[in-house]
């Protein structure tokens, strides 16, 4: 098979504020026709820059300074074009761009124009490259949309991107990229922003269309699980240089370069032994100070053993009312049950993982615990040493006191820190709000908190923009710890971080929990991450806890239909355990309507948490025999 793309010693420079930054330093690799090549690396390794060099859509500050990108179009007459040297705005390049080589991006929600219909944007791509009548074009676009998995292509044509979910937007992007049947599809982290089961559906879609159209795919990703499942060849990048490249079997079975081995060791997976630690690519050191107090942590095993509850949620429901209407017509209000009778117990000193896909209601639960929203029904009880407190009835000073005890860490490290405050002010703010200590004492505590999360105290007067994502997340952690909370709610704290940084932050979470005897509610959609940090894991779907168990039990022995499906969608960085793509047809999401008996939720009978022993509970019809769940 001939090489469709052959990149030879490519170098790309960025001119930023008078400085020259080399983003790509002499990269060479090939993309054979009809094959999938995975480009792997951390953020900043130059993956996307290479993709954009191929497309000729580099930002203005970037320039290709050396090397060539030879493109031999298998559908063309055999002439080879150097994409690095043809004028990027010339007719030849424009014809290739979008016609012969297409790209899809990471953020499906922002990749399409919100002001134009999906049909308009896709047809535009078609008519740019094909001489085709408008009515014939419409048919082509409709066929493409239905290939991309839209159940009702006619309706999708007239939809605006903001009316569609993230998964559907990504399908629309794919339809747009493929409508001209390109020879090469560049997929730039196409599933990173999506839930794990949608990810499986999108990967399957790309694979199916690839087989149908006979195109090549350049898959850019940092997820080695995705690589193992789709790639034929792998190129590993680090700091703009190729570390390793070759067929996927070689890369996974005998990784030669230490960088790839390190990358593999930094990713949590389900085969880790209890107590096994991730090895981040760059370790951080941190230490505790006297003001933070090691919470007499040497007095024996943490409180998980005795299982004393800290917070009990019982029968929580929350219904959101939205009106299906627009500016010119009003419609009947529709009710969405975000949380539907949720029971959960958070025990002192444990890390309780809460897993679920977007829209399952997990954020609503954490907001209810924070008292940011009020449930329609149900109770939240805080257990102290000798008394119980009804959290929902708190107000005034009692509520302020409660807020001190529950702190939150947010998903987005950029948006959760004020860009106009210095780090010292950010970490000190909770102390100021609650009037704790003198200015001097506050400053001392802030310094110790910085060291606790492994940041240099010389950075205290800097502003958040001068920190990386992982460092910002550690600042957020320091802020949350300033009040010495009993419960820390972590809402997807690592999902915006790179794999290597993710390992750092996860290890920090684990160490601090042990040192400070903290209790975590760790909310995430990443099963492997939850598996790594949690003691117990609760799986949430459609506003209910469908299954809860200690971590070593749950993923070894999942009982609920939904949990099993979720597990099946996780790509492993292991060639012997590939995803069963045939499971993922249709929309990819699994709702209560798809659950077979005895998991079917019926309105005429309440469901029960079935005890499977070892603290493993599953939501099923009352009276179901445990044996029936494991055929």
């Amino acid at each position: 098979m001939s090489d469709m793309i052959k990149i030879d010693s490519l170098e790309v420079e960025f001119h930023v504020h008078g400085q020259i930054v080399k983003a790509v330093k002499g990269v060479s690799f090939r993309i054979p026709a009809k094959k999938t090549v995975a480009l792997v690396g951390e953020s900043g390794s130059g993956k996307s820059v290479i993709a954009r060099s191929i497309m000729g859509i580099l930002p203005k500050s970037a320039r290709i300074t050396a090397g060539e990108i030879m493109f031999n179009d298998p559908g063309g007459d055999g002439t080879v074009i150097d994409l690095a040297s043809v004028p990027v705005d010339g007719a030849q390049m424009r014809q290739i761009r979008g016609g012969r080589i297409s790209i899809i991006f990471q953020e499906p929600m922002t990749s399409l124009s919100q002001l134009h219909t999906v049909g308009d944007q896709i047809s535009e791509a078609l008519h740019l490259h094909r001489d085709i009548s408008p009515s014939a074009g419409l048919e082509v676009v409709e066929t493409m949309l239905s290939t991309a998995g839209f159940p009702d292509p006619k309706k999708a044509m007239k939809s605006y991107p903001f009316e569609l979910s993230g998964g559907l937007n990504q399908r629309a992007m794919i339809a747009m990229a493929l409508v001209c049947q390109p020879a090469l599809l560049i997929a730039d982290e196409p599933t990173t922003a999506l839930d794990v089961s949608i990810q499986a559906v999108i990967l399957k879609l790309i694979r199916d269309i690839q087989a149908e159209l006979g195109m090549a795919v350049l898959m850019i990703t940092h997820d080695l699980g995705v690589v193992a499942n789709v790639a034929d060849e792998v190129v590993v990048l680090y700091h703009g240089k190729v570390m390793e490249s070759g067929p996927v079997e070689d890369i996974f079975q005998k990784p030669e370069h230490p960088y790839l081995q390190a990358l593999l060791a930094a990713i949590p997976n389900f085969d880790m032994k209890p107590g096994e630690r991730l090895t981040p690519i760059r370790e951080i050191s941190h230490r505790s100070g006297p003001l933070i107090g090691d919470n007499d942590s040497d007095t024996g095993p943490s409180a998980v053993a005795n299982g004393a509850p800290l917070l009990t949620l019982s029968g929580l429901t929350k219904t959101y009312t939205t009106r299906k209407q627009n500016l010119f017509t009003s419609g009947p209000p529709s009710h969405t049950k975000a949380v539907a009778g949720l029971d959960l117990e958070i025990r002192k000193g444990e890390c309780l993982g809460l897993v679920g896909e977007s829209g399952c209601g997990k954020s609503s639960v954490s907001k209810m615990i924070m008292r940011a929203i009020t449930p329609d029904e149900g109770t939240i009880t805080l257990h102290d040493r000798d008394s119980d407190t009804d959290v929902l009835a708190l107000d005034g000073d009692a509520l302020t006191d409660y807020r001190k005890r529950v702190q939150m860490i947010f998903q987005d490290p950029v948006k959760s820190l004020s860009p106009r405050m210095t780090v010292i002010d950010i970490i000190r703010e909770p102390l100021v709000i609650h009037g704790i200590g003198t200015r001097r004492q506050q400053a001392d505590l802030v310094q110790q908190l910085m060291q606790l999360v492994g940041l240099d105290i010389r950075f205290l007067n800097r502003y958040p923009h001068s920190f990386s994502g992982g460092q910002r997340q550690r600042i957020g952690l320091a802020r949350a710890l300033a009040l010495k909370p009993d419960l820390l709610i972590c809402d997807e704290p690592v999902s915006a971080l790179d794999v290597s940084i993710q390992a750092q932050v996860l290890n920090l979470f684990k160490d601090l929990q042990k040192d400070l005897d903290l209790t975590y509610l760790f909310v995430s959609h990443n099963l492997a991450v939850v598996d790594y940090v949690s003691d117990r894991i609760a799986v949430m779907s459609a506003g209910r806890i469908v299954e809860i168990a200690p971590r070593e039990v749950l993923f070894k022995n999942p009982a609920h239909h939904y949990t099993r499906r979720l597990m099946a969608a996780v790509p492993y960085p292991d060639l012997d355990r590939k995803l069963d793509f045939d499971l993922f047809t249709g929309s990819g999401t699994s709702g209560p309507a798809d659950w077979p008996a005895p998991y079917t939720i019926r309105s005429d009978q309440p469901m029960a948490q079935l005890d499977l022993g070892e603290g493993h509970y599953v939501l099923a019809a009352p009276g179901t025999q445990p044996e029936a769940l494991f055929p």
Partner: protein, 332 residues
Amino acid sequence: MLRYVIHRMLIMIPTLLVISALVFTIIELPPGDYLESYVAELQSMGETVDEQQIAFLREQYGFGAPAIERYFQWLTGMLQGDFGYSFEYRLPVSEVVGDRLFLTVLVSIATILFTWLIAFPIGIYSATHQYSWGDYGLTFIGLLGLATPNFLLALILLYFANVVWGTSIGGLMDPQYLDQPWSVNKALSVLEHLWIPVVVIGTSGTAGMIRSLRANLLDELQKQYVVTAKAKGLPRNRALIKYPLRSSLNFFVADIGNLLPRVISGAELVAVVMSLPTTGPILISALQSQDMYLAGSFLMFLATLTVIGVLISDLLLAWLDPRIRLSGGSSA
């Protein structure tokens, strides 16, 4: 759609009522009334004042009646198309304003067109060539335009127009055409004079618009969908016009509501300096002499323009932006 438009029209009624009450109150606020200023003016010129005539006038125009009563008289009059009587001109308000209204509208429309024609290309150029010499140069000129006081610019341009082209100073036409019926020559003379007030009134608006268009377009150009459009193979200009430019138009459309009254009222000082036969100077003198009905009706005219302008921009926004059209609506 129709429901929404009717709903919006109905809302305009209470809005205008509240504005009319405010206008009336503000005009009433200074002590005294038109007749007192009139008497004071006569006395200061050393003329004798006929007490009987004043009392007659006071009776005639209902100055003795309580404010509430006069307010409702004015209001009901306006609803019937009777805008009251100007004391100063001793003519019905509609006759005083009527003739000048045409010229005002002419100057305003010309100014708006001038603003758009200049601001759009420059704004787009500045945004797409950020930090280039062209951008810096145009930005500098724009800031100069923003900073120069209108009346100063007016005097400078009048001087040069007179010295270089011999255009007569002041007014919107050569003196010989004043009070003449419209003819081709008169229209040409108007055109010859028109460009100065248009440039003067439009300069700061143009400069402001360049700045906001540049800022809005720069924001949009950063966005991912622009890269998507390029990745499709769209030629650069077509991609620019269809996607980011269209998105950055929202601010511009939302501004239409303010445009008409700003152009008309912003032109008052300039109109005084250049002695333009537009409505601006009338408003100023009416406010000075407490010519109640003239000033009040004029302010109501501006308010109505604003309210209609806002309605137009709301409808245009809904038409342009599907996010507003489809996901908007009251949250109640």
